[in-house]
C-alpha cells in the first residue's frame, strides 16, 4: 500500500527537529519504507503567480494571444493559447528555467526564452497538468489554471502561494500495518523512533440532538459497528486552502468541504468515513445486496451487486457498497444542506471480496480490507463533526447512533524477556520496554511481561512472537553485529547438481551454448514433435496457449530455440538441463534431463556422429530405436539413459528448420549411473608395440559394434583398435562398405617382435573373414 506523507504535516504532529531526509531515512530503517522523497518546492522552481494586465491578438496565429502579465518585478509578454485568459486573472507563470510537461504528456522539459510564430514569449502560462497540479486545480482541457481565488500577490513563488513548499514521502506500508495508513500512525512511528511518545489528538465529544435516526444492521459479524449522526444547516462550498493543499499532497482530489472533511479525517486518523445527503436517505440498513441489485457509485459507474456483498441501503435500494464507495444519488452535492455522517467498521474479507469482484478500489476499501479496529470510529466521527462545523457550519440535530454493544477488551500477551534467544544481541530490558510503550503498548512486570495491545494494533499482533519484531526494529537491524552459524547440516547436496555443473563445463568446451526455455509449451509444439498431450500436465490459467502444457520432453523447445537462430547463422550447438513433467497419481513426476541439439543448415555427413562423438566413449550400449520424432534410420537408444538421433525431416519441416538436427535427450539420473567410472588405474605400456593397418570390404549391414568385438577378440596381443576410414561408393562393390582400422599390437611383458605381430595380424585377418570381410592388401 502506498501512502503520501507531507513532511510539514508530520512536523506539526511530531514537532520533530530532524530534516525531511533524516526523517525519511529513520522511517525506512525502523518503520515503513520511504520509497521516494518528492521535494515539491523544487518542482515549482522558477514558477510564480502572475496577474494578466493586457491581452492582444497574436498577429500570426488565430488561436494564440499576446498576454502581458505582471510577474511582480516587471510586466512581460507571454504567448498563450488558453481559452479562458482574462484581464485581472491570476495565473501560473513558468519562467525560463522552469521544468514543465508539455500538454501534460511526456518527460519534463526546461523552458527557454523563445519566439512563438515570430512573437517573443517570456515563459509560459500553464495548465494544471503541465505543472503536476491536475489533482489540485481542475479546468477545461483548453483552459489554463485559474489562481484568482488564491491570496497571493503577483510575483509570489508558486510553491509558497499554494502551500506546496513542502516535501512529500512516498511510503510503502506493509499490509499488516494498517495503523500506519494515517498521519497519526506515521507520527507515532516517527516519535517512537526518536524516543518520544505521540499522544492522540483530542477530539470534542459530540453534543447530540433530539432527532431519531433509523439505523439497523442485519448481520453484526459483517458490520460489527455502525455509528451515524445527522447535521443540519450545512453550507457546501470549497475547502480552505490549507485543507486543499493537504489533500493534494496526499494524492487526494479536493471536491467540496464535506467530502474533503471525510477524506481529511481518513488521512489524519486512518478511519474512513462517509457522508450521505440526509435529504435523500430515509433510513439506513446495513445488509447483504440482493440478487441483481445495482449501485450507481460516486465514480459515475453502475455496478451490479451480488448477495456476497455488503451494502448500506435505504428503505428501497443500496446507497453505498460498504467500506468501498458511496452511491452518486445520495452523495453530497452543491444543494446539500443536511448530512448523515457514517463511521463504521466492516468485516475485512467481505470488503475485500466485494471490491475485487467488481474491480472497484478506493482509499477507504484499502484500509478496511486490511482490518480496522472497531474502536477507531468514535474519535473519527467526533473529528468529522468538529471539522464540519468549522468549515461548513451547521449543527448536530440527531442522536449519535452506535450499534456496538460490546465492551472493549484489549488483547493481552505474555512475553518472557529471559527468552531472548532469537535476538542475537544483548537486549537491554528496560530500554526494550520503552520501545513498546512508545508504540502504545502497555507493559507490566519486570522480566516476565504482560503486554496490552493498543486498539489500533488489534488486527496485526497475533502472537507474543510479534513483540520480538517490535523490539528489534526499534533497536535497529543495522545495529546488530552479524555472525555466521556454525555446525554441519544434516542435508547433503543433491549429487545431480555436481554432475550438472561438470556437464555444463564439458559441453561448453565442445562448443555448446546453454539455453533456458520456459517449462511450459503449447499443445501444438508437443504434437508437432510427436509427443502427446495425454501425459502432459495442464496449466489451468496459462498466460497464452503457448504455455498451456508442462514439457514432457525437452526436445520441442530445443527445436523452437534452434528455429529462432536459423535466420542469422548456419549452425548451432545448444543444450539445456531441466525438468520434464509427467502425470501420475498425486504430483507429477519431475525428471531432470539433458537435451543437446546440433543443427547444421548444409551438413554433408550424418550429424548423428557429430553428436555421438560429443560423448566420446563416456557412454556405451547404443542400440537402434524407432521414435516418433527421430529419423527412422538414424536414431538410437542408450538403455536407461535416453535417446539420441537425427530429428525426422518431417518434424523439422513442422518447426520450419532447414538442414538437419541431431538431438539427444538423456536422463540425468541415467547419465550419473552410466557414465563410465574413471577411477581405475591402467598401466602405461613399458615396451614398444607394433602398429599395423588393416582394410577390408564387408557387407554394409554388418555393425561396427560386431566388427570391433571381432577385432578386439581376435588375438591377445591386440591392444588398440581405431577406425580411420569408412567408405561406400566408387570402387566398392554394391552392398559393401570399405573399412580401414589402425591396429596396435602390444605385449605388456616384453618388446614385441615383428614375427609375433605378424602372427597376430594373420589371426585377425582370419577372424574378419569369418564375418564375411574381404581383406584388401
Amino acid at each position: 500500500m502506498e501512502m503520501y506523507v507531507s513532511y510539514s504535516w508530520l512536523k506539526e504532529l511530531t514537532k520533530t527537529k530532524k530534516s525531511a531526509k533524516d526523517v525519511a531515512d529513520l522511517l525506512s530503517l525502523h518503520g515503513a519504507t520511504v520509497e521516494h522523497v518528492v521535494v515539491w518546492g523544487e518542482k515549482f522552481e522558477d514558477m510564480v503567480v502572475g496577474e494578466i494586465v493586457e491581452i492582444n491578438p497574436h498577429p500570426n496565429a488565430n488561436k494564440l494571444k499576446l498576454v502581458v502579465t505582471d510577474i511582480g518585478k516587471k510586466k512581460v509578454q507571454i504567448v498563450c493559447g488558453g481559452a479562458n485568459v482574462a484581464i485581472g486573472m491570476k495565473v501560473v507563470v513558468a519562467l525560463p528555467g522552469a521544468s514543465v510537461v508539455w500538454h501534460g504528456e511526456g518527460d519534463p522539459v526546461v523552458l527557454e526564452e523563445t519566439k512563438i510564430r515570430g512573437e517573443e514569449s517570456h515563459g509560459m502560462i500553464c495548465g494544471a497538468s503541465e505543472i503536476f497540479l491536475e489533482k489540485l486545480i481542475s479546468h477545461a482541457e483548453k483552459d489554463i489554471a485559474d489562481l484568482s481565488h488564491v491570496d497571493a500577490k503577483a510575483g509570489t513563488p508558486l510553491a509558497q502561494a499554494l502551500g506546496l513548499d513542502d516535501t512529500v514521502f512516498e511510503i510503502e506500508v506493509t499490509s499488516n500495518r494498517v495503523d500506519v495508513m494515517s498521519m497519526e500512525g506515521v507520527a507515532r512511528e516517527v516519535m517512537a523512533i526518536e524516543g518520544k511518545t505521540y499522544d492522540l489528538k483530542k477530539t470534542k465529544a459530540i453534543k447530540a440532538g433530539k432527532e431519531k435516526l433509523k439505523v439497523s444492521v442485519k448481520d453484526a459479524k459483517l458490520c460489527p459497528r455502525y455509528q451515524a449522526v445527522k447535521m443540519d444547516g450545512i453550507e457546501i462550498g470549497p475547502s480552505p486552502d490549507w485543507m486543499q493543499s493537504a489533500l493534494f499532497k496526499a494524492g487526494v482530489k479536493s471536491i467540496n468541504n464535506i467530502v474533503d472533511v471525510s477524506n481529511y479525517v481518513m488521512l489524519e486518523m486512518g478511519q474512513p468515513l462517509h457522508a450521505f445527503d440526509a435529504a435523500k436517505v430515509d433510513e439506513i440498513v446495513v445488509r447483504n445486496a440482493k440478487e441483481s441489485e445495482k449501485l450507481e457509485a460516486l465514480d459515475d459507474n453502475t455496478y451490479e451487486l451480488d448477495p456476497a456483498m455488503l451494502v448500506i441501503a435505504d428503505s428501497q435500494k443500496p446507497i453505498a457498497l460498504a467500506g468501498v464507495m458511496g452511491g452518486a444519488p445520495t452523495g453530497i452535492s452543491d444543494s446539500t444542506t443536511s448530512v448523515v455522517w457514517e463511521a463504521a467498521n466492516f468485516e475485512k474479507y467481505t470488503v475485500r471480496k466485494g471490491a475485487r469482484s467488481i474491480l472497484l478500489f478506493s482509499e477507504s476499501q484499502m484500509r478496511f480490507e486490511k482490518g480496522l479496529s472497531v474502536f477507531s470510529t468514535q474519535r473519527a466521527l467526533e473529528r468529522a463533526v468538529e471539522l464540519t462545523m468549522e468549515l461548513a457550519g451547521g449543527e448536530v440535530v440527531s442522536e449519535v447512533v452506535d450499534t456496538y454493544k460490546g465492551t472493549y477488551k484489549p488483547l493481552v500477551y505474555d512475553f518472557d524477556t529471559n527468552d531472548a534467544r532469537l535476538f542475537g544481541f544483548e537486549v537491554d530490558v528496560p530500554e526494550a520496554k520503552k520501545y513498546l510503550e512508545r508504540l502504545g503498548f502497555e507493559v507490566s512486570g519486570t522480566l516476565k511481561w504482560k503486554i496490552r495491545v493498543p486498539y489500533w494494533r488489534d488486527g496485526d499482533i497475533e502472537d507474543s512472537r510479534d513483540f520480538v519484531e517490535e523490539i528489534v526494529r526499534m533497536y535497529g537491524y543495522h545495529n546488530i553485529e552479524g555472525t555466521i552459524p556454525m555446525g554441519v547440516s544434516e542435508a547433503q547436496a543433491d549429487p545431480l547438481f555436481g554432475l550438472r555443473k561438470n556437464l555444463e563445463q564439458y559441453l561448453v568446451g565442445k562448443g555448446f551454448s546453454e539455453m533456458i526455455n520456459y517449462s511450459f509449451v503449447g499443445a501444438d509444439d508437443l504434437t508437432r514433435a510427436g509427443e502427446t498431450v495425454h501425459n502432459a500436465v495442464h496449466v489451468l490459467n496459462p498466460l497464452s496457449v503457448e504455455g498451456e502444457y508442462m514439457r514432457t520432453s525437452l526436445i520441442p523447445s530445443a527445436l523452437l530455440s534452434v528455429a529462432r537462430n536459423t535466420s542469422h547463422t548456419n549452425s548451432a550447438r545448444l543444450f539445456e538441463i531441466a525438468n520434464v513433467y509427467h502425470k501420475q497419481e498425486g504430483l507429477p513426476k519431475e525428471e531432470l534431463r539433458l537435451v543437446c541439439a546440433i543443427w547444421n543448415a548444409k551438413s554433408k555427413t550424418p550429424l548423428f556422429y557429430d553428436l555421438k562423438g560429443v560423448f566420446g566413449d563416456l557412454l556405451d550400449g547404443y542400440t537402434s530405436v524407432q521414435h516418433e520424432m527421430l529419423h527412422p534410420g538414424r536414431s538410437a537408444e542408450v538403455e536407461g539413459v535416453g535417446i539420441i538421433g537425427e530429428v525426422h525431416p518431417h518434424v523439422l519441416k513442422q518447426f520450419g528448420i532447414e538442414g538437419s538436427v541431431a538431438v539427444c535427450e538423456f536422463s540425468m539420473e541415467g547419465l550419473a549411473a552410466n557414465l563410465k567410472a574413471r577411477d581405475a588405474f591402467q598401466a602405461i605400456p613399458e615396451f614398444p608395440g607394433v602398429k599395423r593397418d588393416i582394410a577390408f570390404f564387408v557387407d554394409k549391414k554388418v555393425l561396427y559394434k560386431d566388427l570391433e568385438n571381432a577385432i578386439s577378440g581376435a588375438h591377445d596381443l591386440i591392444a588398440g583398435v581405431e577406425l580411420f576410414d569408412i567408405y561406400e561408393g566408387k570402387g566398392v562393390p554394391d552392398s559393401k562398405k570399405s573399412m580401414a582400422f589402425h591396429i596396435e599390437y602390444q605385449d605388456p611383458e616384453k618388446t614385441l617382435s615383428m614375427e609375433e605381430a605378424e602372427a597376430a595380424h594373420k589371426a585377425l585377418e582370419k577372424s574378419l573373414k569369418k564375418l564375411g570381410a574381404e581383406v584388401r592388401n
Binding site: S28, G31, T33, L507, I516
Partner: protein, 347 residues
Amino acid sequence: MKKDLEKIKKSALSAIDMVATPNALQDVRVQFLGRKGELTRLLKGLKDLDGEKRKAVGQAANFVKEEIEAALSARESALEKARFDAIAKEEWIDVTAPGSSCETGSVHLVTQTINKIVDIFASIGFSRVAAPEVEWDYYAFEALNMPKEHPARDDWETFFIDEGVSKKYGKQVLTPHTSNAQVRILEEHDVPLKVVNIGRVYRRQADASHVPMFHQVEGFCVGDNITIADLKGTVEYFLHSFFGQDRKIRYRPYDFRFTEPSFEIDIDCDVCSGTGDNCRVCKAGWVELAGAGLTHPHVLKAGGVDPDKYSAFAFGFGVERIAMMKGVSIPDMRMLYQNDLRFLKQF
C-alpha cells in the same frame, strides 16, 4: 701431402666464410668432412704411407680437421645469431588481428549466476537441495502460515494445475517461490540444517521487466540457537562476496507471513551511486534485493520441529535480479529465455 692439407684447409675456411645459410654450411661440411669429403679422402690415403710419416701427416690432418670443425661451428653460431636477430622483422605478425577461431559454447547467464551463488553458500556450509516445481498448495502457501483466502496470497500471481486435488494438500500449483522447500526439508531431514534451494518459479506476469518463469534462491537455516544476528551475518557474507566488500546494505522492517520478525534487504544503487537523484532503477538510492526473517513458529511446527527448542531463519531473492544488478543490464527480461545465440554467447 702437407701441401694438400694446407690447400684443403684454406679452401674449406674460405668456403665456410662465404656461406650464408645453415644448409650451405651443411654442404660445406659434407664437402670436406663427409664420408666422401676431401679431407676424408686424403686421410684414407694415409694408410699407404709408412710409420713416421703417417704419424706426422695424420697429426697435421687432425689439426686441420679440428680447425675446420671449429670454423664450421663458429660459423653456425654466427648464422644462428643472425637469424635470431632477424626474426623480429622477418617473422613479424599483426598481433591485433583476430585469433584463430576455436568454437566454444557458453553457460547461460542465469546458470553462471546460480553457480556463483552456490559456491559462496557452500563455503559457509550451505548445501544445495531440490524441491518440486509443481507443488501442493499446502507447501507453497498453507504450511507457510498463509491460510486460504489470506490476502498475502495476492502477492503471488499463481498458476494452477488442473490435476488431482488432495484432501490433505489442496490444489496443485506451479510454485511461485522457492520457499516451498522449507516445510519439505524439515519433513525429510533432521536438524540442524543449512540449505539453499535454487530453482525455477512461476508467476502470471509477462512484460519487459517480468517473465512468467524465473529463478529464486531460498536460504534456510535451522538450529538450536539461530538468531537474527546469524541471519544478518549470513546474508551479509553472501552479498559482500557477490557484489564486493564496499557495497552498502540496508535492512528495512517488512511483513512476510512465514517469518517473524521480517525484513527486506536493500543494496546501494550503483546506477546513481546511491544518491537516488532522478534514478529510474532505485528507490531513493537503494535497490530492493531480498526478503528475510526468522522462520515463523507455525512453519517450524508444520515441519514437525519444536519452535521452543529450535529456531530458524530464511531468506529469498531472485537470480535474474541480482544478475542484472551485477552490471548486466538487459532492456527486456524476455530476452533471457529466447535463446538467441547472439545473446547467449555474450556471457
